[in-house]
């Protein structure tokens, strides 16, 4: 479940950690938890993608309290606007999925995928554009994120049929699950512009280490450098966390993908 705190009284303490380049573009390096945003375990990718937007919200709130910039600062205004949209969509969420669908227009199971496909607009959002354009983009992003969280849970990447003689949680089940999962992920990554040669795979049976890695330039675009595939279980999560520490990776650089007993491959954990 996603919780988004938007009340200005709950704004971030102190200045943001955002940096601005010479063109005024924002690199929103926010820790979601510091923003008061709890990203659903199943939404690491969506969380990453909307991070710039959330950074914008937080920046807006910070700047709004700054009498030197105030309303004259377009970041402040768009931050407020994005915050209002979050509140608006949360209110709609309380009315149920049908209300969401009605407000959003044509929400389907592909809503989750749309979050992923909006990576580029999300990046563009960080540019200081016109107020209305930013507000509109923020609304779509927030709406889709909330819809995904409220109605679909962790994003389903795809499914396969597990062999009947294999038991969920065993090494053999895991070996079998890794092959279709890596195929689905490769398909998804290439569709998002990552060439095959930049996707390094280690999902073969018996291989140790993180399952997939992508080259740095694409990691920059997608918000993660590695993918780890695990059973959707408490032990799967704890194993993954232990491995990430052992590998000395930044946890934010790892996209968790899970499989379940029915052969569903999803983004993140949801057990």
């Amino acid at each position: 479940m996603i919780t988004v705190k938007t009340n200005s009284a709950e704004r971030l303490p102190g200045k943001s950690t955002n940096t601005y380049d010479v063109n005024g573009n924002i690199d929103a390096n926010y820790d979601a938890s510091k923003l008061g945003v709890n990203i659903a375990p199943g939404l690491p990718n969506a969380g990453t993608i909307v991070k710039p937007m959330r950074g914008l919200v937080a920046d807006g709130l910070n700047y709004a309290g700054d009498t030197f910039t105030g309303k004259a600062n377009p970041i402040a205004d768009s931050g407020r606007l994005a915050g209002n949209y979050i509140d608006g969509w949360k209110a709609t969420a309380a009315q149920g999925p049908e209300a969401f669908a009605k407000r959003l227009g044509n929400v389907s199971g592909s809503a989750a995928f749309e979050v992923g496909s909006m990576a580029l607009p999300a990046t563009k959002l960080s540019k200081l554009s016109t107020l209305s354009k930013m507000g509109g983009t923020a609304e779509r992003l927030v709406a889709r994120e909330v819809v995904v969280a409220e109605t679909t849970g962790p994003r389903l990447i795809g499914s396969y049929t597990p062999s009947a003689n294999l038991k969920f949680g065993t090494t053999l089940f895991g070996d079998e699950a890794h092959a279709p999962a890596s195929r689905m992920l490769t398909d998804e990554l290439t569709s998002r512009g990552v060439p095959l040669g930049s996707i390094i795979d280690r999902t073969g049976p018996g291989l140790r280490g993180v399952d997939m890695s992508i080259d740095p330039i694409y990691a920059k675009k997608l918000g993660f450098e590695h993918i780890e595939i695990k059973p959707n279980s408490e032990s799967g999560l704890s194993t993954m966390n232990r491995q990430i520490r052992k590998w000395d990776y930044d946890p934010r650089s790892v996209r968790p993908v899970t499989y379940d007993a029915n052969g569903n491959i999803r983004d993140g954990f949801n057990f």
């Binding site: 490769t186 060439p195 095959l196 280490g209 990691a219």
Partner: protein
């Protein structure tokens, strides 16, 4: 536009300028180094690409010692710069590292078939019998694994099998695109970049096989077809095909 936007849109000359600007401001950001390396490769300036490829390679090896890093890209760069002995040595080292398990990651889901296929192409092109036999032996070893656990591996398994004479080019086409004719297979690339990438690989290695049978015209035709798929097909084969076409001219 951002450097990354230029790059993703295939505007590589503009991407080079933008990445250089990024690197001036953020010299330690490995993403900009990688972007610049790739942009130089895309425009065919491998001399400029080499130091940046080395930088990214060292970064990746430091983080994952059992990763191939950018060694295949470096090999391809040396190949295109006509340092063929070094290119072959680097590619063979990748194959050997897969066999002794000092490298556990590969740019495919076929246990490192990519390295063997590229070595097969390079050795066939230069007439290097020792490395040609080594490549075939490497691919045979992988093929044993494929037969033991057929559900665990993916394309380019079929191209390995074609190189080993077990399946036809049409079988490979069907495996990649669900079509048995090239015309229909090309239409299938419109909707999927993965299919476009895999078709590029299939065409490239079919071209190599035609070269081995002294059908150089057929080989050139295949290389042209790979090139015409554009930069969005598999990048190593695209660079190599472009290099072949430059040689024709």
């Amino acid at each position: 536009m951002e450097a990354l936007d230029y790059f993703m849109e295939g505007r590589f000359s503009e991407a080079i300028d933008a990445f250089r600007c990024k690197l001036t401001n953020e010299p330690d950001d490995i993403a900009w180094v990688d972007g610049l390396a790739k942009s130089y490769c895309e425009v065919g300036d491998f001399v400029a690409a080499l130091p940046f490829l080395e930088h990214v390679h060292n970064y990746q090896k430091a983080k994952n010692p059992d990763s191939p890093g950018q060694q295949l890209q470096l090999s391809c760069a040396y190949w295109c710069l006509d340092d063929r002995a070094r290119a072959i040595a680097l590619t063979r080292e990748l194959c050997a590292s897969i066999l002794d398990r000092s490298i556990n990651m590969a740019p495919d889901q076929a246990g490192g078939a990519t390295f063997g296929l590229i070595l097969h192409y390079m050795s066939a092109t230069t007439g290097d019998v020792d490395n040609y036999e080594y490549a075939l032996d490497y691919l045979r070893k992988l093929n044993i694994k494929y037969d033991k656990r057929p559900t665990q591996f993916r394309y380019p398994v079929l191209t390995v099998k074609q190189v080993l004479g077990e399946v036809s080019f049409e079988d490979v086409l069907e495996g990649v695109t669900n079509e048995r004719t090239l015309a229909a297979a090309l239409r299938a690339t419109v909707t999927s970049r993965l299919v476009k990438s895999e078709l590029g690989i299939a065409l490239f290695h079919d071209g190599t096989l035609q070269r081995i049978t002294d059908n150089e015209i057929g080989c050139r035709k295949r290389m042209s077809q790979v090139f015409e798929l554009g930069y969005q097909t598999e990048s190593i084969r695209w660079y190599l095909a472009r290099n072949e076409i430059a040689k024709f001219k």
